[in-house]
């Protein structure tokens, strides 16, 4: 059943291209229908599938290389599949106003979604890589065609970074395939193979780094803020919300399970980079003038938590990392939605100094409220999903890297600072004293009202982040048992978990 998430998305992407060129409404509805169907299938399939590791579909694909078309899922995949579904639906709701080459937009968008589903469900490394690479092309076009200022540069940078990352991954995978001598690309089979330490010591950093580039690992994160800011709203929601998770997911699913010894040797180094990302991302976010850059750098900072959590190797830290992937996916989506769709599409600026004068808190109260909620979730306030996730990551980090945990704590405080600054400047500045003065009319006409799709999308995402923040059990009950599967045997032997 889960496999249909992939097929539905790709099929809809194809169907969209067959629509009449002027049928924008049809394109939107079809895209929304496909995304909702994908989400529904994902949720139902996930519940039906349960937390254990089990195959969804398996056929021989390239026998010469031992590559199978092997789709499977465990709890981690399920969480991320559901995230993808949610982000997809919300993204389409927030792209309702796309009017330029609409069907191509949604077609590429759904192709990207399909590829992402594919990555999360692939248990054959080659298949995983194929989906991983498929995602690059729609990303490029989504940004380069529908993006804002500096879009082509950003798109090219993003594509090249991604491609360099995947080249590293491919190199590592080929080496792992050949070194194992097993004539297979099956994840489980290769994870069972004990690679010699000397091999792991170079293969691990190569593969990990390859994936981590997409996860925004400092100092290879520079594609992220530029890419996110230049991208159209839905694409930045997906990029920050889901595509960055592909990288983190690859780190966990491939690099760490295949090369536990290499991980042990390199853990400290990558942990330090993750922490550097947390703090650096937050610091840079603190001085940005472009609201979207603030959110972009905050993503770098939050993804640092994901990577840090992965490297803790404790069940708490790992489950925190996966939960943080989910949480950040939702929250970043929400933030980008407010900035890109609700604010930028109406005000045509994202410059904080210009927004100061626009008194958006009054003129767009819904946007302000959504941004405040998203900001609170982003800064990790209790009651929102980010808190449970970051707390677990930090607890995990305490066990392994106490010093890093402390520094990451600084990152959290900085996170509060930049989020408040953004909220303040973008929405609540410019009205000098008490709130009684009438709204001046210099910025009339008023901005177009927040539309229904936007409200639906925002409410959906806010509801999810609050629900997960208050009741994370369902997700944790999926995540935790996953680490008991044989995939993670290597990590357990190495003393982790």
């Amino acid at each position: 059943m889960l496999a249909w998430t992939i097929y539905i998305s790709f099929a809809a992407a194809g169907l969209l291209l067959l629509l009449g060129p002027d049928n924008d409404r049809g394109a939107r509805l079809l895209a929304l229908g496909a995304a909702v169907a994908g989400l529904a299938v994902g949720i139902v399939g996930a519940i039906e599938h349960g937390a254990g590791l089990a195959t969804v579909s398996r056929h021989a694909w390239i026998p010469g290389l031992g590559a199978d078309y092997h789709l499977a899922a465990d709890g981690i995949s399920l969480v991320l599949v559901v995230l993808t579904g949610l982000a997809a639906v919300a993204g389409i709701l927030f792209s309702w106003n796309v009017g330029y080459r609409t069907r191509e937009f949604f077609s590429l968008y759904l192709a990207l979604i399909g590829a992402v589903y594919g990555v999360f469900l692939s248990f054959d490394l080659l298949l995983l890589f194929v989906f991983y690479e498929i995602a690059i092309v729609p990303k490029y076009f989504l940004i380069a065609i529908w993006g804002s200022k500096g879009r082509e540069h950003a798109a090219m940078k993003l594509a090249l970074y991604s491609f360099v990352g995947s080249a590293l991954v491919l190199g590592g995978l080929v080496a792992a395939h050949v070194e194992s001598g097993a004539r297979t690309f099956g994840l489980e089979e290769l994870a069972r193979h004990a690679y010699p330490a000397s091999f792991q010591n170079w293969a691990f950093p190569v593969v990990f780094l390859g994936f981590a580039i997409l996860a925004g690992l400092w100092p290879f994160h520079t594609w992220a803020p530029t890419g996110h800011s230049a991208a159209p709203t839905a694409a930045s929601m997906l990029l920050a919300g889901v595509v960055m998770k592909l990288g983190a997911y690859g780190c966990l699913r491939v690099a760490m399970t295949l090369f536990p010894d290499g991980l042990a040797a390199w853990r400290g180094v990558f942990g330090a980079l993750a922490v550097a990302g947390i703090v650096h991302g937050a610091l840079v976010a603190l001085v940005q003038r472009d609201l979207k850059f603030v959110v972009g750098y905050s993503s770098v900072s939050h993804m640092g938590f994901v990577l840090l959590g992965l490297l803790t190797l404790s069940p708490v830290g790992l489950s925190g990392a996966v939960l943080q992937m989910f949480s950040h996916g939702i929250v970043a989506g929400l933030l980008f939605a407010v900035v890109g769709r609700m604010v930028y599409d109406r005000e045509h600026t994202r410059d904080l100094e210009e927004l100061r004068a626009r008194r958006l808190g009054r003129r767009l109260p819904f946007a302000a409220a959504t941004f405040v909620l998203a900001g609170m979730a982003s800064m990790g306030l209790p009651g929102f999903s980010g808190f449970v996730a970051e707390l677990q990551v930090l607890v995990g980090a305490w066990q392994t890297f106490p010093a890093y945990a402390a520094i990451a704590g600084i990152g959290i405080v900085l996170g509060v600072a930049y989020t408040l600054r953004a909220i303040q400047k973008a929405f609540f500045a410019g009205d000098p004293t008490p709130a009684t003065a009438p709204v001046p009319e210099e910025h009339a006409p008023p901005p177009p009202a927040i539309t229904l799709p936007e409200k639906c999308g925002a409410i959906l995402l806010v509801a999810v982040t609050v629900a997960v923040g208050l009741w994370p059990r369902p997700l944790i009950d999926w995540i935790l048992p996953s680490f008991a599967s044989s995939l993670f045997d290597g990590l357990r032997k190495g003393g982790g978990l």
Binding site: L381, F387, Q392, V395, W398, P402, A405, R473
Partner: protein
């Protein structure tokens, strides 16, 4: 009431109210205020029922509820009340309706304002009943958010800077505490506060921190101290303990007065409560090791804040510093009780006295400070926002009832016998003198200065020649009287019959003291 989720119901009441208000939309000030007041009174009734059902004689945790929440983190939904929590809980239930009734409802988005106030109350209820750190922390932070927005959106001229400073400083403290408690969790595998308290008492906690945590470059033995420092920081910012108080005067004076009532009356008690609930049980040895420093800071807080209050020309800022001063007394009692003593009933009695005093002082200061800020709010409404001490004079003649009631409150704040402020301060000083004489002696200086500035204020505002501007200064309205009179009555009642409250807490405190060790 066995098995009945009384506390959950209590916490949920204001949340429901907040949701009703938030989704109900803007329907005018009166309606928003009435709705909020309704929910707050409902919560007050529930709290009173709980207090009625609270058995002061047993030391067990009452009205317990316990459910698994986040298993990876050992997080449970565990609530219950004991002697430490009952008074702050009652206080929160009392103050919110009072603040709603007395504070000025802003004309701008009144529904949001009141929704946030109710949310704040939910945070307070949650924090005073939570028995799991995680759960406690959720509400601790939850109360911070509405407070931030209340200051930021409806505050005075400096509100933005004040709100941000308030939020960031408190949050930084919270993060320090969170990190420290994570270390505790990593070492012990539990966030359960009663369980941690047992570990802390037996010294197992410190040992676990020593053995289970490895932090390169830090001696294992000093890790416990580091963790202790983190928790201390989080709590000290909230109370506040000098020198972590810098957010407070601005926040209190910029906040809308109704909110200031809650900030000083209830929110600051969360910090004190945190000392009693977390810091003292978990880190007795560490507190004792740094007792000199801590007492020094407390004395500094008490004296310096009183002096600072003397120098203020703005009623709100003056009262803000006065609050710092009074909360300093609470901490004085707590730290004095931690003074190592020989075993024996005498010392245990002194300790219990001091801690009883702390709890009463928390409650009484909450009421008195809230009332004082309430009066300031009333003045503000009449003066069009002026709250300088020099802006007024002779109000006694035009508003005698106002002057009388506010005077009573000021005297309660001063600790005049017969009023409720007296008994708490008295018990704190009595216990502390015996336990930590030197520090307490210096701290009494603070009392002196407090008397000085409070009386000066009374004099400047109400006595002397009447300023021309205030010829028509109206006396208390009927609605205001309806709010103030019961509270002032309460001051008398508790001043005369302190046993009403002591009855609830004393057995629990005696037990608490027993567990403090030598």
């Amino acid at each position: 009431m066995n098995g009945f989720p009384a506390i959950t119901l209590l916490t949920a009441t204001p949340i429901v109210g907040a949701l009703v208000l938030a989704f109900g939309g803007d329907r005018g000030e009166r309606r928003a205020r009435a709705t909020a007041l309704g929910f707050a009174l409902l919560a007050l009734i529930e709290a009173l029922v709980i207090a009625w059902g609270f058995d002061g004689k047993t030391t067990a945790i009452q009205f317990p509820e316990r459910h698994a929440w986040i298993p990876t983190l050992g997080v449970e939904y565990r609530v219950g009340i004991d002697a430490l929590g009952i008074l702050p809980l009652l206080l929160s239930a009392l103050l919110v309706p009072f603040a709603i009734a007395v504070g000025t409802t802003p004309p701008e988005r009144p529904h949001a304002y009141h929704a946030l106030v109710l949310l704040l109350q939910a945070g307070l209820f949650g924090a005073f009943t939570a028995l799991n750190f995680f759960h406690w922390f959720v509400f601790w932070e939850l109360s911070l958010v509405p407070a931030y927005f209340l200051v930021k959106l409806w505050g005075g001229s400096e509100r933005r800077a004040a709100a941000t400073r308030f939020f960031v400083q408190t949050f930084a403290g919270s993060v320090a505490m969170l990190l420290a408690m994570q270390a505790v969790f990593v070492a012990t595998g539990t966030f359960d506060l009663p369980r941690l308290a047992e570990l802390g008492r037996s010294g197992a906690l410190a040992r676990a921190l020593e053995t289970r945590l490895h932090w390169p470059g830090v001696a294992p033995a000093s890790l416990a101290t580091l963790v202790f420092a983190g928790v201390l920081l989080g709590l000290a910012v909230k109370v506040p303990l000098m020198p972590f108080h810098t957010w407070l005067p601005d926040a209190y004076s910029s906040a809308p007065t109704g909110v200031t009532m809650l900030l000083t009356g209830a929110l600051s008690k969360m910090g004190v409560y945190g000392f009693l609930r977390i810091l003292v049980p978990l880190f007795p040895a560490q507190i004792r090791a740094s007792l000199g420093l801590l007492l020094g800071l407390v004395v500094l807080t008490i004296v310096a804040s009183a002096l600072a209050a003397c120098a203020q020309k703005d009623l709100k800022r003056m009262l803000a510093y006065s609050s710092v001063n009074h909360l300093g007394l609470c901490l004085l009692g707590i730290f004095a009780a931690m003074q190592p003593v020989a075993a024996g009933p005498t010392w245990a009695l002194e300790r219990a006295t001091a801690l009883d005093g702390v709890l009463l002082q928390m409650f009484n200061h909450g009421i008195v400070a809230a009332a004082l800020f309430g009066f300031v709010a009333a003045i503000e409404r009449r003066s069009g926002g002026l709250v300088g001490t020099h802006d007024f004079g002779g109000l006694r003649t035009v508003a005698p009832v106002f002057a009388g009631l506010m005077g009573i409150s000021v005297f309660a704040s001063l600790g005049l016998p017969g009023l409720n402020g007296f008994i708490g301060e008295f018990l704190v000083f009595k216990g502390s003198f015996a336990l930590a004489g030197a520090a307490t002696s210096v701290a009494t200086l603070g009392l002196l200065f407090t008397a000085m500035f409070l009386l000066t204020m009374l004099q400047r505002v109400f006595a002397g020649p009447l300023d021309e501007r205030w010829k028509t200064f109206p006396d208390l309205t009927r609605a205001e009287l309806a709010a103030f009179v019961p509270v002032v009555g309460l001051m008398f009642a508790l001043g005369i019959v302190p046993g009403l409250l002591l009855r609830l807490v004393d057995p629990g405190i005696v037990e608490f003291v027993k567990r403090l060790g030598p």
